[in-house]
Symmetry: C2
Subunit: 302 residues, 2 copies
């Protein structure tokens, strides 16, 4: 069976693993990223981690997920807020030269989508739109097992999609951007405004109040749910995926909002589009598995 | 040089042509559709038209554009408001059985996009989003010379994308759908409200008033332009195309709105996305050329 190296490079930790075609993690290594010690230090660390994996030379190639938009043509990060110094660095070329094997890189949301599309909830579907509802809101489109990264690496930056222009200006994002209105951060912010910072530490506290039938919490959740339903409607009219796969920490509150979201979505699309499926993400490690799957998806055609 | 048959089946007329790889129309035949005489009559008419083309047997295949969403997997129209009786009819199978050659079908906007992407303004670009600004607002995404039709044939039905939920309910589309607010029909409606039905017959009359510095007309055009800028921003965050190609009758007023649209778009996207190009559609016959190009794009891989 073919094997692949997946690397999940985050601002805090970096993990590398050998993964098989079914997405099984055969061996995993993990270290602190230590970005404060510079780009060269981090790169050397990742190389050593990969070389510590048994039989890494026999793997088909290396796939990497990184936090931020990626210029996939040139194998560089476009923005690297969490990895200062990596912006514009020719990371893919560096690894290709060192390992003499195929190397692919994409942003971590695209990579997780890839994992879910190929081996998780999107398996057996030709077109998958993955949406992560977390601190932020991100997305990725996978068509025929290939992620659509976009010409500038910004495809799936759906947190900045405007769902209602008549809102307050609260971040660098667009006024009324869905991430400002319905992300975990947004639900927490609105919860604090209503119930105070002592009572609300994260979105889960708002969901708990809604479960206890607190009318203000219910109303807050309903508004955020409608904002998300509009986002899904917009995506569907542009891409019309076969399935939406939903991941991210906010899904812990799915009992509060998911059924309602799907019902409202149906009122906001053409009749023939109501058959789109909504599925929950399934993989325990979509980031690292998806990174490995970049190789499976692209190595054949490149 | 390889040749292809392109068929543009509309509610009023049907045209068939032999097209070469450069998009040259080598021979064109045209007849009234006569949909009132039934589906069988129309199909027999198209078959006769194709068979009247010199050397049609040597063509690589047949591509068809039709007005409405298409189930491209099964080769059927999903909705056929302009072609009653064609909904669900196995048109592609019928033509494949008859002609014994590859046959592809997609909706007319996708097909025009295909033509523009492969041979027109999108030539030499890997990802193209085509937007037609006309009576309605439609779109299509072409990635690596393949149109993304969507799982239910609704990809690119961007007329129903909500750009401002706080508008009036004026059609079967979503409240605040861009087609209700910034299409040719919408600009005409708003113009009639301001200036009366005698003065405004179509959007061009509103553009003329704006050119004459009429403040109300300018204000109307500015609002519609902003609505469109928001639509382009939304599409960019979802797909991040390399180039937007703009076609449709409204482009006759491009001197009134296009520069402003691009400027406003730039204020509504992340900095790295501002490099996306806006180009005007170039082909004189995108519908029929694009239909023929379906064969060039798909026959190889199917």
């Amino acid at each position: 069976m073919k094997t692949f190296i997946g690397v999940d490079l985050g601002g805090t930790n970096v993990r590398a693993a050998k993964v098989d075609e079914q997405g099984q993690l055969l061996q995993v290594v993990k270290e602190a990223t230590e970005i404060d010690q510079g780009v060269d230090h981090v790169i050397q660390k990742i190389i050593s981690m990969i070389e510590s994996i048994d039989g890494y030379q026999e793997c088909e190639g290396i796939g990497m997920g990184v936090p931020g938009p990626v210029d996939t043509k040139n194998g560089k990060m476009m923005l690297a807020s969490f990895l200062p110094g990596f912006e514009g660095y020719p990371l893919v070329k560096h690894f290709r030269d060192h390992f003499q094997m195929p190397v692919y890189m994409d942003n971590d949301v695209n990579v997780a989508c890839m994992g879910e599309a190929m081996l998780g909830a999107g398996k057996n579907h030709d077109s998958v739109y993955y949406v992560t509802l977390s601190t932020g809101v991100g997305g990725a489109l996978v068509i025929d097992k290939r992620v659509v990264s976009g010409a500038h690496g910004f495809a799936g930056e759906i947190g900045n999609v405007i769902i209602d222009r008549n809102r307050e200006d609260i971040s660098h994002l667009n006024v009324g951007a869905v991430e400002n209105e319905a992300s975990g951060t947004a639900i927490t912010r609105k919860g604090k405004e209503l119930f105070g910072g002592n009572r609300i530490n994260h979105a889960g506290d708002v969901f708990d109040l809604a479960r206890e039938k607190n009318p203000q919490a219910i109303s807050l959740c309903e508004a955020a749910t409608y904002d998300l339903a509009q986002l899904f409607s917009i995506i569907a009219h542009i891409c019309d995926p076969e399935v939406f796969v939903l991941g991210g920490g906010l899904m812990k509150g799915k009992d509060v909002f998911l059924d309602q979201l799907i019902e409202q979505f149906k009122t906001l699309v053409h009749e023939g589009m109501r058959a789109v499926e909504f599925k929950e993400a399934q993989l325990e490690e979509p980031g690292i598995v998806g990174a490995a799957m970049l190789v499976m998806a692209y190595a054949g055609g490149n």
